[in-house]
């Protein structure tokens, strides 16, 4: 029942409200199920007290019509109340973040200082207790943004922008995943949401909006050169270098993220190396070409360079 991606281990306002709703419905549903089972057993048993009542249309009218109508009306009312409570908050203090679904990763756009936004990918960091309004868009097909332990899901639909509100109740890491089948590597399109306290969040935001750390030693300098000359920059941006591609994820602070490839693998130099060379086996059909052109020394340099971009 626990877990980083569980509806039943809520860490956000919405998810908590829905979990309560669920447990109540589960209890009610179990009672109804038991009642049906008992009635059926009585009906099958043959002679028993109350069988006369069981065999008439009165049973159908009272238990089959009146009772369900009452229960369902009550449930509908509760459901609509919860729906309203979960609607988008028009909180002036809210943080606005945009998330764009791409095949098969998440582009995250934060507002930066002076109205200049900056990008990250496959990881959303949010402050605890503050409303975060997430603008959901897609670059290609329909995706669905879902972090079960924070809130329900909302689809990302071509030509539209949907907005949802997240409020995290506690610090910690939640895992989210694309919930609308989007072809190919849909199963490997996940992400993390990290809830930080306000000060940690602000300092993280300040660092994240800055340029990448320049390479410090000969090996990472080689890595950077390889990154530029091999054409990585055609698709990826590393702020502070010539690499300014916008097709793939922004890698400015890739080393500081919890995972690689939309939460498909852990994040360290070795994993980066495997990803560069063998990504089509790790995440089939993903849109990055496999780069098997490097020898071991080059690959190590490139991976260490990227892993060092904290």
């Amino acid at each position: 029942m626990n877990g980083v991606q569980s509806v039943l281990a809520p860490r956000g306002q919405d998810a908590e409200r829905i979990a309560t709703l669920f447990w109540t419905m589960l209890g009610g549903g179990t009672l109804i199920m038991l009642a049906v089972a008992v009635l059926t057993a009585l009906a099958l048993k043959g002679d028993s007290p109350g069988r006369g009542w069981l065999r008439s249309e009165r049973l159908v009218v009272w238990v089959g019509i009146v009772l369900p109508v009452c229960l369902l009306t009550a449930l509908l009312a509760w459901g609509l109340f919860a729906l309203r409570a979960g609607a988008v908050h028009s909180d002036p203090d809210a943080l606005r973040v945009a998330v764009v679904g791409e095949r098969w990763w998440w582009r995250v756009i934060y507002p930066g200082a002076g109205g200049r936004s900056f990008e990250s990918a496959n990881e959303l960091r949010i402050p605890v207790g503050r409303t975060v309004n997430v603008e959901l868009r897609t670059a290609d097909v329909i995706h669905s943004f879902w972090v079960p332990s924070l809130a329900g899901k909302v689809d990302m639909i071509p030509g539209r922008t949907n907005v949802m509100s997240l409020v995290a109740n506690a610090t910690g890491v939640s895992r989210g995943q694309c919930a609308e089948y989007c072809g190919g590597a849909h199963a490997l399109m996940s992400f993390h949401v990290v809830a930080l306290n306000a000060t940690e969040f602000e300092s993280w935001l300040a660092h994240e909006s800055g340029p990448a750390i320049p390479p410090a030693d000969a090996e990472t300098r080689l890595g950077q050169t390889l990154f530029i000359t091999s054409g990585c920059g055609a698709c990826h941006t590393i702020r502070g270098t010539d690499a300014a591609g916008r097709i793939g994820p922004d890698l400015t602070h890739v080393g500081g993220r919890l995972s690689l490839a939309a939460a498909t693998m852990s994040n360290d130099a070795a994993a980066i190396g495997r990803w560069i060379r063998d990504n089509q086996h790790i995440k089939p059909q993903n849109r990055m070409p496999p780069f098997a052109i490097f020898d071991d020394r080059q690959l190590a340099a490139l991976s260490r360079y990227l892993a060092g971009l904290k």
């Binding site: 054409g231 591609g245 097709i247 849109r287 070409p289």
Partner: protein, 355 residues
């Protein structure tokens, strides 16, 4: 009910089966006895020859049904490329205008036919099928790179011109230009050098490419990772020293562009947009990040290359034909993002810029 004129009974079936078995055994006995004469020095019986010819014609006609000819088989670039291959690969057996086939070859059974006479008896699609697949028991080999239909069509385009071709025209088409050193003569024959352009716009200009790229390409050809019925046999003849020599030779030549082709208005401009800025909507990266001046030496430079060559290679990449090399594996998914029109645009732009 009266018995119909022929109503098979169980006995009839047994007789038929036994007859068939008997024929099979008889055939085997003939072969076992070794009386059938397979000498190439004597020709077949007329009826055997007729039957084999008939079977061949029917087989080629049937198997070439799904083949669809490209629209422009009279394109001179195609014909020139085909002529070069004909000179190196076909003429030694089939002869050529003004050249007799070698007597050794004429002693083959069946003898390779003179194509000026025989090619017109086939349709273009049939010729394509024969050149690509070869013919069993005739000595006619299949195309070494079966997926390179584009190269086969070049040969077919040449064969279609062959009947009207006199010796002078043939010599002009297949003339070997003088080379700086004999080691590169075979290369210069098609790819040209500092004084002559490639013989066809389908053939890349190699002047000024990096030595590492050229070596890599030759090795890929030699090992069959980059399929080509024309380049694989050429590259296979080179050893690592000659590969280095050839690559160093071309890398040392001053880059030169091909003569411009006429491009549609706006085409070059659109191509420039893609080459320099990519096409983000479809996830197409800018070409120049890798094919400009600042990229790895193992990536080819495309400026000044002819549009026909670039477009042709992009189509090959789209089909996955070049995916067996690490470089091709990178380029294959990118090529697949391009529409046919974008390919033409981008190729036109590269052809228009000075290297």
């Amino acid at each position: 009910m009266a018995r119909r004129w022929w109503q098979p009974t169980r006995r009839d079936a047994v007789i038929a089966a036994l007859t068939l078995c008997g024929l099979a055994v008889a055939g085997f006995l003939v072969a076992l006895s070794g009386v059938y004469d397979i000498a190439a020095s004597r020709s077949h019986l007329e009826i055997t020859r007729w039957f084999l010819e008939f079977g061949k014609r029917r087989a080629v006609a049937t198997y070439s049904l799904p083949v669809q000819a490209p629209p422009s088989l009279d394109d001179r670039n195609l014909v020139r490329l085909g002529a070069g291959h004909f000179r190196d690969g076909c003429a030694s057996c089939h002869g050529a205008p003004g050249e007799q086939a070698n007597p050794i070859v004429r002693a083959m059974q069946p003898a390779p036919p003179p194509l000026s006479v025989r090619a017109p008896t086939w349709t273009a699609e049939e010729l394509f099928w024969i050149v690509r697949n070869g013919l069993k028991y005739t000595g006619m080999p299949a195309w070494p790179a079966p997926r390179r239909g584009d190269e086969v069509w070049a040969v077919v385009a040449f064969l279609l011109q062959l009947p009207e071709m006199d010796a002078a025209r043939y010599r002009e088409l297949t003339r070997l230009p003088p080379a700086d050193t004999p080691a590169v003569a075979a290369c210069v024959a098609c790819h040209g050098d500092s004084s002559s352009p490639p013989v066809s716009r389908l053939v890349p200009r190699l002047n000024g490419q990096s030595q590492r790229y050229l070596e890599l390409a030759l090795r890929n050809y030699a090992h069959g990772q980059r399929p080509s019925g024309i380049m694989q046999p050429q590259a296979a003849r080179l050893n690592s020293r000659t590969i280095e020599l050839v690559a160093r030779y071309y890398a040392g030549l001053k880059p030169a562009s091909v003569p411009p082709a006429d491009a549609e208005a706006g085409q070059i401009e659109r191509g420039r947009g893609i080459a320099t800025g990519g096409f983000e909507e479809r996830g197409i990266p800018p070409c120049l990040t890798c094919h400009g001046g600042h990229a790895l030496a193992t990536y080819p430079k495309l400026a000044g290359q002819s549009e026909a060559y670039i477009a042709g290679q992009l189509h090959l990449l789209q089909k996955g034909i070049r995916a067996d090399t690490p470089q091709g594996a990178i380029m294959t998914p990118i090529a697949r993002l391009l529409s046919d029109r974008q390919i033409e645009d981008v190729a036109a732009w590269f052809a228009s810029v000075e290297p």
